[in-house]
């Protein structure tokens, strides 16, 4: 026996606590996660495992969660989790599409971006879904018709797109062009040449922001359709290794982003970038979203991702552990492709994995300050 091997008393409370911490403390250290399948449990099957990598999410004004999947075939989905609902409706399987980089909710329309193995990224639109009747009792769904607006820019995949603050239009980027689409009269308008390489975001003043080369952000005014190149300089960090991701605090419009090493920064259109706020346990950060009290929750690290929380009040980044769902669906969550803030401030994560689920994260309620 090696002398390095300590003698362990497995009956001691301390050792038992250590075991518990290793076994259970590894997972969701605060709050609760629920994994919801991509179907109507008990009434439909889920989307096929290799077509269910959830890579894009948005929330409608009514609080329904829209998403897009990637894999052998893309699907456009809508999740309903309030009222007497509890289902994910597979609205459309998009033939010829294998990647969904973005879905965007307008006031009453949905716009979905899809890429395929050949040709450029396409845009599909349909109406937002209404709430069904009581889904404990009786139901029936009909897949809606979608309009296909065609390719944004010939042969170029779409990188990302967002709805602007007014939800009147969508601004997006292909690998080499910036485009805009009005929900009211959906036609794709290519507005400039830019090199799309990461996600876009809506700034605190309503400007649309995207990565501009290795060290800057461009800003696009959706009202005037004016593009400002190199509008903001990125702070010191590693920005050329991973695509940009964002979280937006809904109240203030403050944005958060992270560099390739997991350093977090905030950004405001008037004040620019903050100094580094902290660093996530793992990198890169794949997705994040902010809840109503300003806390930011995200997923970081490859292979088996860990969740993190940035609390702006305490200015600290916390490791929340590995995602796990123990209610109804018993599942570990390893890879997440997008995150949005749900109707009540819960964070909805899209699982970018075979057999992907929508994961609802309900953060721990913070104690009132004395």
């Amino acid at each position: 026996m090696s002398e390095k091997k300590p003698k362990i008393d497995y009956n001691s409370p301390k050792v038992r606590a250590q075991i518990d911490e290793i076994v259970h403390g590894t997972f969701v250290k605060q709050g609760t996660m629920l994994a919801f399948p991509t179907g109507f449990p008990g009434a439909t099957i889920s989307i096929l495992p290799d077509e269910s990598h959830i890579t894009a999410l948005d929330v409608s004004p009514q609080g329904l969660v829209y998403g897009g999947t990637s894999g052998k075939r893309s699907h456009i989905i809508v999740g309903m989790f309030h009222g007497v609902t509890g289902m994910v409706f597979d609205m459309k399987a998009v033939e010829g599409a294998t990647h969904c980089p973005a879905v965007c909710c307008g006031k009453n329309k949905l716009l979905a971006c899809v890429n395929g193995p050949s040709g450029g990224g396409r845009i599909l639109t349909t109406g937002l879904h209404g709430l069904p009747f009581d889904l404990i009792q009786e139901w029936g769904f009909q897949r809606p018709a979608f309009d296909d607006l065609g390719e944004c820019a010939a042969g170029e995949p779409i990188v990302h797109a967002v709805a602007d603050a007014s939800r009147d239009r969508v601004v997006g980027a292909t690998t080499h062009h910036l485009f805009s689409v009005d929900f009211a009269s959906p036609k794709i308008r290519v507005v400039a040449e830019v090199s799309g390489s990461g996600r876009l975001a809506v700034g605190s003043k309503g400007g649309i922001l995207g990565p501009d080369g290795k060290g800057h952000l461009w800003r696009f005014d959706p009202q005037t359709q004016k593009l400002e190149r190199e509008a903001f300089k990125l702070p010191a960090g590693r920005w050329d290794k991973t695509p940009l991701v964002w979280a937006r605090a809904g109240q203030s419009g403050l944005l958060y982003t992270a560099d390739a090493g997991g350093q977090l920064f905030s950004f405001d259109e008037e004040r620019g970038f903050s100094a580094a706020l902290g660093k996530t346990l793992l990198a890169p950060v794949y997705c994040m979203a902010a809840t109503f009290d300003g806390r930011v929750f995200g997923s970081c690290g490859s292979g088996i991702a860990k969740m993190f929380c940035y609390d702006p009040g305490r200015r600290e980044v916390t490791n929340l552990g590995v995602a796990v769902s123990v209610f109804e669906r018993r599942r570990y969550g390893y890879v997440f492709g997008d995150a949005v803030t749900g109707r009540d401030g819960e964070i909805v994560f899209g699982e970018d994995d075979d057999g992907g689920h929508l994961w609802l994260y309900f953060p721990r309620i913070q104690a009132a300050s004395a």
């Binding site: 008990g42 009434a43 439909t44 879904h129 029936g140 009909q142």
Partner: protein
């Protein structure tokens, strides 16, 4: 825009304007598109003559949830009006001499709960006609769902504590079929509706499932008192049945049998789940829709209330828990990634006829992939099936023919004392019933006996 078709939408629209099921479905790789359950092959219906009887004096009726044979061997039906705020159910009887319907009474007047009360109204009788053979009484209990007369919708959960809006309660009526008089009535279940009713005549007890709280209740007819036995779940089972030991059987939300054993005075749950589609279902919502007793009283035939309903044969008098035979799906294959409307995909109307065969109606619909029916078929059809209990072979004998609407949804079926089949229809306004005249060689007098003791 995606369109969810729910109960409200169904009753707002006529049956014909409902969704075209399957129109936007897509096949999955490796899945056979062959139909099962009810293949689309037109059958001659000459031997089984079908006739529609509209509730022409109940213009607001939109559904016939209850259709039963009375202790007098005649057919009784409920002209329900749940889609109309303040709607009131009328009790109807088939008059064989006139070959027409008689309108017996409006429930609201009989139970002093007028449709314009401002409360949720006495709009329907839902699988809740039960006979009493020794005295010729037909018991009936009312159900809820119609909005108060000045509201657009009614939620029993929302209005539970609202004295002005809340449903007064399920009214139990004792209708004397010899005198055509309501001998007495009383509120059986306060604030709740009665989803389904059963009569244990030997013991003078009625059993009822309440809605929305989904409790099983026992009503003592002699004392006229009710006892709440307990909660079943959240989804009402649509049927109860009785065995030789006076045990009462139903189902819970997750597709388990539930029985009330008077000897134990408790609800028990089976250790197994009833048959269901193994691909996209779990047993959840596989509650009973309709249950018909075998004439010999040894077994029952049951269909479940969920899309792709399953048929089963249950032997309640065997073993600790019954033997359940899976008789397979009642309706066709479909795209399992999208739910078919439960008003489109349906099976009901189970009844034995004088030829000792089980009859029932299962829906069939055009689906471009899984059931591409030809133009000789309607978009959706109510197929009358005949199941041989000895061989379990089934035969399509006819399709229900509605003069204007589609006829895929049948609630209940019954055979009258002349041996003819009757089916209650849901999905047209006014609603009505179908009579399917049995071929002479398959018909017999008093075919309704032994009578079914549950709705």
């Amino acid at each position: 825009m995606g369109k969810g078709i729910g109960r409200r939408e169904f009753f707002r629209s006529s049956g014909a304007s409902l969704l075209t099921a399957g129109a936007a479905l897509y096949p999955r790789d490796g899945v056979s598109a062959a139909a099962e359950g009810s293949p689309a092959k037109p059958q001659p219906s000459g031997d089984y003559k079908c006739k529609w009887y509209e509730f022409s004096e109940a213009k607001e009726s939109d559904s016939c949830w209850s259709l039963s044979v009375g202790p007098d061997g005649r057919i009784y039906a409920a002209a329900c009006a749940e889609g109309t705020p303040g709607g009131v159910v009328k009790v109807v009887r088939y008059n064989e001499a006139k070959d027409a319907l008689d309108y017996l009474f409006d429930i609201d007047k009989m139970v002093d709960d007028p449709g314009d009360s401002g409360r949720a109204s006495q709009c329907k009788i839902h699988y809740s006609f039960v006979p009493s053979m020794h005295d010729g009484i037909l018991y009936m209990a009312t159900h809820l769902s119609a909005a108060p007369i000045d509201q657009v919708a009614y939620s029993a959960w929302l209005s539970w504590h609202d004295e002005k809006r809340c449903f007064r309660g399920s009214a139990l009526l004792a209708f004397d079929t010899k005198t055509d008089q309501v001998k007495w009535w009383q509120t059986m279940i306060p604030k709740e509706g009665c989803r389904c009713l059963l009569h244990d005549e030997e013991r003078g007890l009625l059993y009822a499932i309440s809605d929305p709280r989904d409790h099983l209740h026992i009503f003592d007819l002699k004392r006229r008192t009710r006892r709440d036995v307990g909660r079943l779940g959240s989804i009402n089972s649509q049927a109860l049945f009785l065995d030789k030991k006076h045990r009462v059987w139903t189902t819970n939300d997750y597709g388990h049998l539930v029985r009330y054993d008077p000897e134990k005075d408790r609800l028990e749950v089976s250790p197994f789940v009833l048959p269901h589609n193994p691909e996209f279902q779990t047993g959840w919502h596989s509650v009973f829709y309709d249950v018909a007793p075998s004439p010999d009283g040894e077994c029952v035939y049951a269909a479940t209330w969920i899309a792709n309903s399953y048929m089963m044969r249950i032997w309640p008098n065997e073993g600790d828990w019954p033997r359940v035979e899976d008789l397979g799906p009642n309706t066709q294959k479909r795209d399992p990634t999208v739910s078919v409307d439960t008003f489109v995909d349906h099976c009901g109307g189970l009844t034995f006829a004088g030829d000792g065969q089980l009859y029932y109606v299962a829906s069939r619909w055009r689906d471009p992939v899984y059931n591409p029916m030809g133009p000789e078929h309607k978009e959706r059809e109510g197929v009358v099936w005949r199941l041989n209990p000895a061989t379990l072979e089934k035969e399509e004998v006819t399709c229900l023919v509605h003069p204007r609407e589609l006829a895929q949804y049948v609630s209940r079926g019954a055979v009258d004392h002349n041996g003819d089949l009757f089916f209650g229809h849901v999905g047209s306004r006014p609603s009505g019933i179908f009579k399917v005249e049995m071929p002479a060689d398959r018909k017999k007098e008093n075919a309704h006996l032994p009578i079914r003791m549950w709705g």
